[in-house]
């Protein structure tokens, strides 16, 4: 109805704008504006109790990264800008030249630019983490812990989730519903609940873990000491999170038409070949979604680490916990909203980077079935 009349295109555009307006307004008010405001807050000294702020420019970032990293920052910024411009040029080319060759070239340019950005920022972060020894060492420890949680935890999550999904996908497997529920059940429990439960398990005197060790005549282990806590949290995180990944993978596996498997087996393919040439390629999209969600979740992880212990060292904390500690902690009587927000901005960059890295793996034409 609304698009009838003398200028249907105009009216159509107007209708689209009207229909999108509420969503756009909500996005603007709840996402875009706070994000821009956060960037501004990160350049201020602010307690958050009164509107009074003191501009400090990039001081918080300089404190976080240290003078060596800050010297390299302009170069990194220039590289990211250049690569970003290349990606935009690729997009423009894609729109202006509809030929297949131009499309291919544009896609390749875009992919390379994204990979370049990921590589440049990734290398910078890696060098900052491992080589440059200045800046906020606690924050560096937190970033390192986030990456450890993401990589080591991710590996265990994914391998277990894949194995469980594969086992539950076997036609001959009995008690599927029971095992699926059992594995998925911990995902229902909140992070705080999981942490409380595992704190009891890891208790040095009365915990289940040490009780089992003692049964096997092995000396009790300090599960929650500063050196071991991160690994203990990873184990607990895997227990709590593997179920949700398994469900996604299982759903992906069950979407693959069985006729593909039948045809492959008739052609004489072994189980390994079937897995390599049918299951994996057809699960590619689901795997990438699972990994992307994990990367985002593991970088933003908070509840599990926060609830595990009251006091953290740089060996046990992660960025979001440190951020919370500095912005909201009554106990320490320091309210560093600006500094904590600078950490939030860095965390956002890490999340975007991780997501871009995952996206760059999705550049191929998706399989349709």
């Amino acid at each position: 109805m609304i698009v009838r009349g003398r200028h249907p295109h105009l009216r159509q555009a107007l209708a689209a704008a009207l229909l999108l307006a509420p969503a756009a307004a909500l996005f603007g008010v709840l996402v875009a504006w706070p994000a821009m405001r956060a960037l501004w807050v990160s350049t201020q000294r602010w307690t958050g109790f009164s509107p009074r702020t003191e501009p400090v420019g990039g001081e918080h970032y300089a404190t976080l990264f240290g003078p060596t990293a800050m010297r390299w920052m302009p170069l990194l910024g220039a590289a990211v800008l250049l690569l970003g411009a290349t990606a935009v040029a690729g997009q423009l080319l894609r729109r202006s030249r509809p030929t297949a060759r131009a499309q291919r070239l544009a896609r390749r340019l875009g992919g390379l630019a994204m990979l370049g950005i990921v590589a440049a920022v990734g290398t910078f972060l890696l060098v900052w983490l491992l080589v440059w020894n200045d800046g906020d060492s606690f924050f560096r420890g937190c970033v390192r812990n986030n990456f450890t949680y993401m990589i080591v935890g991710g590996l265990f999550h994914f391998v277990y989730a894949f194995l469980f999904a594969a086992a539950l996908g076997l036609p001959a497997f009995r008690g599927k519903a029971f095992f699926r529920t059992m594995i998925f059940f911990p995902s229902f429990i909140s992070a705080i609940g999981v942490a409380m439960l595992w704190q009891r398990i890891y208790d040095p005197s009365n915990g289940l873990a040490n009780f089992l060790l003692r049964l096997c005549r092995i000396d009790p282990f300090a599960w929650l000491s500063g050196d071991n806590m991160l690994n203990s949290i990873i184990v607990c995180g895997v227990w709590a999170g593997v179920g949700s990944q398994m469900i996604l993978l299982l759903a992906g596996m069950q979407r693959i038409p069985p006729t593909y498997y039948e045809a492959a087996r008739i052609d004489g393919a072994g189980e390994g070949q079937v897995f390599r040439h049918i299951t994996l390629p057809m699960l590619r999209e689901v795997i990438l979604i699972v990994l992307t969600l994990w990367v985002i979740g593991s970088l933003k992880v908070f509840g599990l680490f926060q609830a595990f212990t009251i006091s953290h060292t740089e060996k046990t904390s992660v960025v979001s916990v440190r951020q919370y500690e500095l912005a909201f902690s009554n106990r320490d009587n320091i309210y560093m909203m600006g500094y904590a927000t600078a950490m939030a901005v860095v965390l956002l960059v890490l999340v975007v980077l991780g997501t871009m890295a995952m996206r760059s793996l999705r550049e191929r034409e998706p399989l349709e079935f």
Partner: protein
Amino acid sequence: MHLFSRLAAVTAITLIGILIWDLNQERLEYPGRKVIIYASMFGPGEPMQVLYGGPAPATASRTPLGPGNRANFVALADAWPGHRGRIGAAWRTCAGRNWPADATPDAQLVADYRELAPGYVDKLVAALNDADRGNRLRLFDAFAQAHPQFDRRMILQFERLHPAWTVGLFEDFERRHPDYKVVPRWDSRWVLSANRPRFLTGTDVPDLITGSLAELRILYRENLAMPLDQPLPDAPVAAWRSQGILRGEKSYFDPSRTLADEFQPWALRQSLYRVAPEDVAESGNPFPAGTDVLYMLPRMVSTTVVFANKAHFRKVGLPFPPRTIAEFEEDCRKLRAAGIEPIANDGMDYTPYWWQWMVYREIGYEAFMATAMNMPGAKRFAGPGADPRYLEIARRLRGWRDRENFWMRDFSSSQWPAAQRRFGSGDCTFLFTGTWLPAEIAGTRSWDPDVMDLGCFVFPDMTGGSGRPGRMDVGTQGYVLCRQGRDPEGAVLLLRYLTAEAGELFARKLNYIPVTQGTPFPRVLADIEPAFSRAGPEDFVGLGVSWYAPRFNKFVLTETYNRFFVVLKDNLTPEQFVEELERRAQEHYARNGGTAK
């Protein structure tokens, strides 16, 4: 288009209406009454400490008689023999044990129960098995109606029988002032964070906020708290304009005394805030830097002491308490030799206290503060101009940890409150913490005097040390009157009432050291009462680095100490510890214009 704009307008108006309602709901709920919003870190009836410590097994949630209920059950049955059968049945359900037939009733408690009205006793006995906590409030109402003769002592009387005393105080206040309604918000430990958006926007700000002197510091710095001891030129009350609230207001029950007269002078002194230069320059505090201002009205005080299990001292044949560090060290060795773990401690919690207090005793509080605050001429932690005793203390502590094994097994991986549970169950002898401990472990400790006989002592002196012997710290908790609150007069009225009525409750329930005149010292802290009662101003240490330079305390002292003391594969050695302390301190001073912030 018209339809859309109307829809948008209706939506916007609805949203604004909901927002306004939400911000004012606590006031709108009580039409015709003046609302005082009271934001607190304590919960109703079950103060934070008891909540954290866990309720007494099978009692707190099951019976309105609360902790220590056995004596109450026995006394109630003795006072009202006609109800003995029902009381016995309730006891068996609540405690899961047979009736303590051999128990001797407490004469005072029996007398208290005999004074109760028969109708109220029926309700009380009927409620013994009722797990509904709201029941306590209904009982309070019934109690108040049945016993008007108790008058102002009613709360204390009620407190002896039921634990819902915090809310009970408010109910009593409302009964005395029917035009007021106290709306409590139990915001727990995060009371400031929970109210920060309110302070920022200036809407729905509580009239009173409670917490510790240190935790509420941000409110003084940011000029969000009302000064209590300064004349207030714009105040609505004439006496406040000329003399300020503290001296302009009268005591709640005795108009011949001012509010200031209600307090122990040292308590008011220890609650002062000295305005810092950065408060004036950065946060707009209106007082000149260096002015001492009372922003917080104290309600109770805690101090840091070494709690000890005297049963272990008897078992090993040691005199109690150890007076010097050398005696303490020797006691620990003998306890260890007797197979008892000397010190209970959770990972990083309260661990820095040991180093800090050794420093206070050996080097002196003022000298340490001068070092930390980077005062000209002060000795440093390491390097040229260092005081070698910082290193000696670090070595001694490391020796206690590694060579002598004074700390409980696996303390590094122990998580709060495991250490206090182990201490309370008689596994370890010492626990160094605040005087809130007895309330925290009330529900979990052993009450068998052969297993746990709780005592305490002030941190031992160091023979030949430069620190003044016997000095103690004082951690004050109290009320802050919020500048943006809507009803300062009502809030001050409530403050006067609470000052008069709540002190004894806090001392009795939470074992806090009283700040008001004439309030008895908690019995469980009797060991330190003599030291406290004869203490002069010079016997208290100041509020320390955590107060004067919280960032230095966190980023330099605590975080470096955690790398030194908490067991890690790459622990700092004592030498590395003092060097790292100095390095980080210098880095911190450089970042903050030469000062510790």
